[in-house]
């Protein structure tokens, strides 16, 4: 086993997935790839604020994604993982994660059972459900 990937959106459930992936990476001495699919958790209030001040949304999304990754990296480092790679992607979460798994030749994918999109998850099926069905590797779903 060479690579473990964990997908996070910065939610508390995703944090539990990061912790689990970090412990696994430490135990197996493998590289931990932390991936976030950005742009899905910005509020209408924040958008209206940006509209008023003429802010750059692309830059804001990138900054938000960087913050999510930085926090996840800190968690993983605190649990003793040193070989960490960070990755940001944009688009449909399930499709984007599967694409990243394929490209990164990932052995195990770790995800939380539900992230921020709880209502849309109930209506459309959660990202973790899609990943467990479609990902080309072992998928570990953290409750």
């Amino acid at each position: 086993m060479h690579r473990i990937m964990v997908a996070t959106d910065g939610s508390s459930r995703a944090n539990r997935a990061v912790d689990a992936a970090a412990r696994l990476a430490k135990a197996t001495k493998t590289t931990l790839i932390i991936l976030t699919v950005g742009g899905h958790d910005i509020s209408g209030k924040e958008l209206r604020r940006l509209a008023l001040v003429g802010g750059d949304l692309s830059k804001t999304l990138t900054t938000m994604a960087d913050q999510v990754l930085a926090k996840a990296k800190n968690r993983a480092q605190r649990l003793g993982v040193s070989d960490i790679k960070l990755q940001t992607a944009w688009g449909d979460p399930a499709e984007t994660i599967i694409d990243a798994v394929r490209r990164g030749k990932t052995d195990i994918l770790v995800v939380g059972r539900r992230g921020r999109g709880q209502l849309s998850g109930l209506l459309l099926g959660s990202t973790s459900q899609k990943l467990s069905n479609l990902a080309p590797c072992i998928v570990m779903i953290v409750p």
Binding site: G38, G39, R48, L57, R103
Partner: protein, 372 residues
């Protein structure tokens, strides 16, 4: 090398609009005979339309009065009068479309030719990509689409504004004279309110406008950002298509896809917010659509029931109320169009500013000044 600067960091909104008008006004200043004639024609059409609206309003009263009297002869006469009135109204509406679109086409042509000349002269279109000012990306879209929007909307909006003011003033007269005064009792005291329908329409329209401002005050800025995000998305795609081969080899498909996905995400997020803003403003606009005629009827009903107003006067006053209220709503009705215009005018202005800078550089290095 100087760092890239955003045009919006150099010029504020007013300066950008001033720069837009500096080039856009060429058409209005240079072709005075053609433009003057067209403007006069459009104003005459607006006045004739207003005249017809008043005639139709009077017809409305006479028709319902005849109906109340069960006077078959008068009803037949009104039916005969209606046909020429309707024909004239239809003819004027079609004429107005021709006049407006002719003015818009001529203005668009003049401004587009002006910008194309500035853009192509001395290979500026090539140098624009490497220019020190950012914010002028995708010039071909600005020339083709933004100029069209920036020259279409002002003509429609100005004519609608003039028409609204004239309509409001004219039908104030109708409301004042036909509606007359009403006697009400306040704390045991009899109070007479002269021209009460005028006050009614002012209070009602002010309330609707205030509600629209409360519910939709973010709409203009959201539309502007949404348009900008769409433009950046297009520009990102164009940039890949146009990148030189040695640079193209450095970027992978994944890099390109991620950049486009990010831009798409921004477009979709702004679109989501735009959707919510429209949902909010629709609550007010559709509510107004339903309530305005009913409020008018309810304001007139006490006088009708007391016998002080005929059925014809009631329908005439209610129709006048709705017309004045519609005129008052000029800003509400055109909020989205104004925001679209502002966004396009900004985008044309930023291109012009970037071209001005290139022109200034040419002059600084001793090349002959380009025509503006």
């Amino acid at each position: 090398m100087r760092p890239f600067r955003q045009i919006t960091q150099i010029l504020d909104e007013t300066q950008l609009l001033r720069r837009f008008w500096q080039s856009a006004s060429h058409f209005w200043r240079q072709e005075k005979l053609k433009v003057g004639g067209l403007t006069l024609f459009l104003l005459v059409v607006v006045l004739l339309q207003l005249l017809l609206q008043v005639a139709l309003n009077l017809w409305n009263r006479n028709f319902f009065d005849a109906l109340e009297r069960r006077d078959a002869h008068a009803l037949w006469l009104q039916a005969q009068i209606f046909l020429p009135l309707a024909a004239a109204s239809i003819f004027l509406a079609a004429t107005s479309v021709w006049g407006r679109m002719t003015a818009q086409r001529s203005w668009r042509e003049a401004l587009t030719r002006h910008v194309i000349q500035k853009w192509l002269e001395r290979d500026r279109y090539r140098r624009l990509n490497h220019h020190v000012i950012k914010g002028s990306e995708n010039p071909e879209y600005r020339v083709a689409v933004d100029i069209r929007i920036a020259t279409d909307a002002p003509i429609d909006l100005t004519l609608a504004f003039i028409s609204s003011i004239l309509t409001a003033l004219t039908f104030f007269g109708v409301l004042w004279s036909v509606g007359g005064s009403i006697d009400i009792t306040v704390l045991g005291q009899a109070v007479t309110i002269p021209g009460y329908l005028v006050f009614g329409v002012i209070i009602y329209s002010s309330t609707v406008s205030a509600l629209m401002v409360v519910f939709g005050h973010h709409l203009a800025s959201v539309i502007e950002r949404s348009n900008q995000a769409e433009a950046e998305f297009r520009a990102a795609g164009d940039a890949f298509r146009q990148e030189p081969e040695h640079e193209a080899a450095k970027a992978t498909d994944t890099d390109r896809r991620q950049i486009l996905q990010l831009k798409l995400q921004a477009v979709l997020l702004w679109w989501r917010e735009f959707c919510w803003q429209l949902v909010r403003t629709t609550l007010v606009s559709h509510g107004n659509f339903l309530f305005a005629p009913v409020v008018a009827w309810f304001l007139c009903v006490p006088k009708y029931l007391s016998g002080a107003m005929t059925l014809g006067e009631l329908t005439q006053s209610a129709a006048a109320f709705v017309v004045v209220q519609g005129a008052f709503n000029w800003l509400v009705d055109n909020y989205q169009r104004l925001a679209d215009w502002q966004s396009s005018a900004h985008r044309v202005a930023t291109l012009l500013v970037a071209l001005d800078e290139l022109e200034a550089k040419e002059q600084a290095v001793g090349k002959p000044a380009a025509k503006s």
